[in-house]
């Protein structure tokens, strides 16, 4: 799903791309390019998402009813397709966030150095 091009890039866990897209969109509608740029920037260039992964995810999320889309003109006067979080998408995001927190905690517990 996600691609690594360089050594320092991270291979994404299954399902985390969807979660990151939902997270990115919680502050307002964005088009595909902006979503990938935001994720790259926030991950300090560690996660770079190819269109080949991004757009299938976007279309899939739309199919599931978590996103809706419409064509709009961007602030730079370009036509672009904007994705917006739906009500169901917000609920999904909340669910993903709490699942993610649990997962992180569990992994931290497993991975912490052993106390002597």
């Amino acid at each position: 799903m996600a691609l690594k091009q360089r050594e320092d890039r991270i291979e994404l866990l299954q399902g985390t791309l969807d979660m990151m897209i939902l997270q990115t969109l919680q502050w307002g509608p964005q088009h595909g390019l902006a979503i990938s740029q935001i994720i790259r920037r926030k991950s300090e260039e560690l996660i770079k998402i190819e269109a080949g992964s991004l757009y299938p995810a976007l279309h899939r999320l739309e199919q599931q009813g978590w996103l809706s889309s419409e064509w709009k003109v961007s602030e730079k006067n370009q036509r672009a397709k904007y994705y917006r979080l739906t009500h169901a998408g917000k609920k999904q995001l909340l669910a993903e966030q709490s699942k993610w927190k649990q997962l992180l905690r569990a992994i931290r517990l497993v991975m912490r150095p052993v106390d002597k």
Partner: protein, 890 residues
Amino acid sequence: MTGIFRALKSLFYRRRLEQDLRDEMESHLRMDTLERIAAGEPPADAQRNARRDFGVALRYAENVRDGWGITGIDRLMQDVRYALRQLRRHAGFTIAAILTLGLGIGANTAVFSIVNTILLKPLPYNNSDRLVRIVENIPASESFSGTPLRTIGMSPSAFMEWRSKTKTLSAMAMERQLSMTVTGREPVRLSGLEVSPALFSMLDVTPMLGRTFEQTEENSGSDKVVILSHGVWANRFGADTNVLGRSITLDDKDYTIVGVMPREFSYPDAQTGFWTPLALPLPNVLGLPVIARLKDDVPTAAAAAEAVNIAREFRGESAADPQPQGPPRIELMSVKDELVQPVRQPLLVFVIAVTLVLLVACVNVANLFLARTTTRRREIALRMALGAARTRVLRQLVTESFILAFLGGLIGIGLAFAGSRVFVAVGQNLARADLKRFELAGNAIPRLNEVTIDASVLLLALAVTALTGLLFGIIPALQIHGRNPIQFMNSNVGFASKVPLQFIRSVMVIGQIGLTMVLLLAAGLLIKSFVNLANTEVGYDPANVLTFKIPQPQLEYPRDRARQFQQNAFAEEVTRRIGSLNGVEAAAFTNELPMVRTFFVWLGRDIPQSKKEGRLAVISRDYFRTMRVPVISGRGFTADDWHQRPVYVINKTAAREYFAGVDPIGKTTSGSGFPPGEIVGIVDDIRQSGLEAGPVPQLFMLPHHMDAVWGQGYYFTVRTTNDVSVMVPAIRSIVRDLDPKAIVDNIATMDQIVANSITTPRSYAVLLGTFSAAALMLALMGLYGLVAYLVRQRTQEFAVRVALGAQHHHILVLVLKQGIALNVAGVAVGIAGGVLLTRYLQNMLFGVSTLDLSTFVGVSVLFIVVATVAAYIPARHALHTDPLTTLRFE
């Protein structure tokens, strides 16, 4: 469900979605490029980098489409396209498979539809399974022909008594088929039925117009009413709704039209154009068919028991008397069973034959698919090695099978429709097997007008053949199952398959040859039987003889004697005038034309009861001369015999049977219906009642020496010097001049009549011949394919052998031996099958035993020769083995 809906919606909106996707991709690239330029990259780099970061567009689109849920249908279309490409590439295989499937499906659908309609479907009357015929089995000792007789006839007096006695039958009707001349604008002959009024309520039909008959109309005097069929009403009366109460003239008597039946009604067959009441009693009639309906709550067995008792009562036996041995004297038989009885056995034979063809076709399809297995296996292995999923490959093979089945099905449907239409057309031309009924329009095969192609039968045949294809289509994929596909790709030899292909194919080819042999044997027997019939000496010269009939009203004895003599004089005058026409050698008339009708029995008082039943024919003076019947001894009739005391001529068989060792000429004979008279001549035997019946004793007399009245008019025979058909207009005008109301009916040449009398055996021979030819073609294809396969399999072995010094012809013999072994094994199986199955042809054969040695030997030899050729052609390829080229391939 929603998935399907989404996929369908996606399919409809597909164009829009694709466009949307392209727009989105472009917008992404454009914005990225612009931003990069804004950040200071040179435009060319910006564009390239944007593209690079975007990734592979194709993959992207594919992944998105996955999300749309289109791919199911997409993949199917792809499978179909790929399958079509495959099938086109292997055109030979495809055509063979489609034709085979089409043949199997078509022949089966046609035959099973016909059989279903004729033998299985209920008759088109309400509760028709409760309608019965009363069948009497007359033992040989009581039958006047000296052989056991099975009849549905009952005397009118017995019928009336039975009707008053029965407690198990709700209604009974007696019927008599007849044909009558309708006079009016233009005289025509129509078939009709005289029937008891109870018939219509028994069949539960209501007339379209008017009413059916009242019970009182069965009394003589009030019986001159008629109900018309829809066809006659439409053709003769222009579908006039005011037709009721009008009068119609049938055989010179006026009938009042009281009703018109609906279009879909027919009884007893579709040719019946009118119904009139059968007036009872009828003193001089021996037996007529009776139809009856069982009471609703009466079991058939109870009705049958009652029938036996009533019949015993009629014969003066008490219920306490012991029942005689043998078949029950009286049986109740459903009307449908009785109707279809004459064709049941031939139709079942055709069902067996066509099933064999289907089996051979299925084996062929299987064989074709298996033959491709070798090549397919490599191709499939390649595809799997390149990453195709096993399910995907399987689906691909299934798709191919279904496409083949579908195309074969299309051809099959076409063949089925054409086939059943041909069958109906041929059937309608078949002369009635029952010669007494010949004059009445009607078919030898009942219910032809009901024949339709049965959709369920079609689907079944389609399913059977498709399944066969499916089963064998997936074999290559199954063989690869659980193995490393690579191992199949390189090697030509040494792959041990899970299914021993060669063995399966050999068994199938042997089976195919066996089935085909059975069909060929059956066809051979029927053809031989037909040839026997066609070569039978008829005893007269049928060439250049024109025959026709001038029908006359039914006369009654003795009341109508004067009218009979008028008819005789009329016939004499017609022959006299025709005889004087240019190009006419001789003209005569008779009451019994050969092959057409034998009705009068010669019951000589001086002839022992134990002898063969004799036949009586009335002929005019020049009949022997016209027909060229040789006079063996004594003389024929002369002009002087007309006014002298009666003299008779007998045939050779009569002389031998009745006057053993004594010269019959000069002897006196007599019988019921004719006065004592001297025998003046002996003529050669002629086949009077059909080619398959041997000659019977016959007595010929001049018309005015006949005491009894037969009525219904005479058949005329005219011998011409050349083409007979040019005489027809002149004959018509002679008849019209003599009597404007008379019609010239049943015009045919004697050659046609003879040929017609064997149309039934000819159709049997043609039908089975066609089936077996189809099977033969398929079996030869199968054999050819297998031998070709064997040769391909062993190419390298042969190359090695040749390289080591083997002669080419050694190799040819090697291959041929294998082919011939298969061949002989198949023929042996076929002969065994033939011995078991040809017995079912018994009643369809004439002068040939069901195990006729020459047919069995001939067919076997013929088959082995043909099949050896079919094996030789592919075997020859082994000859062209070039060791160097072949071995280099390793």
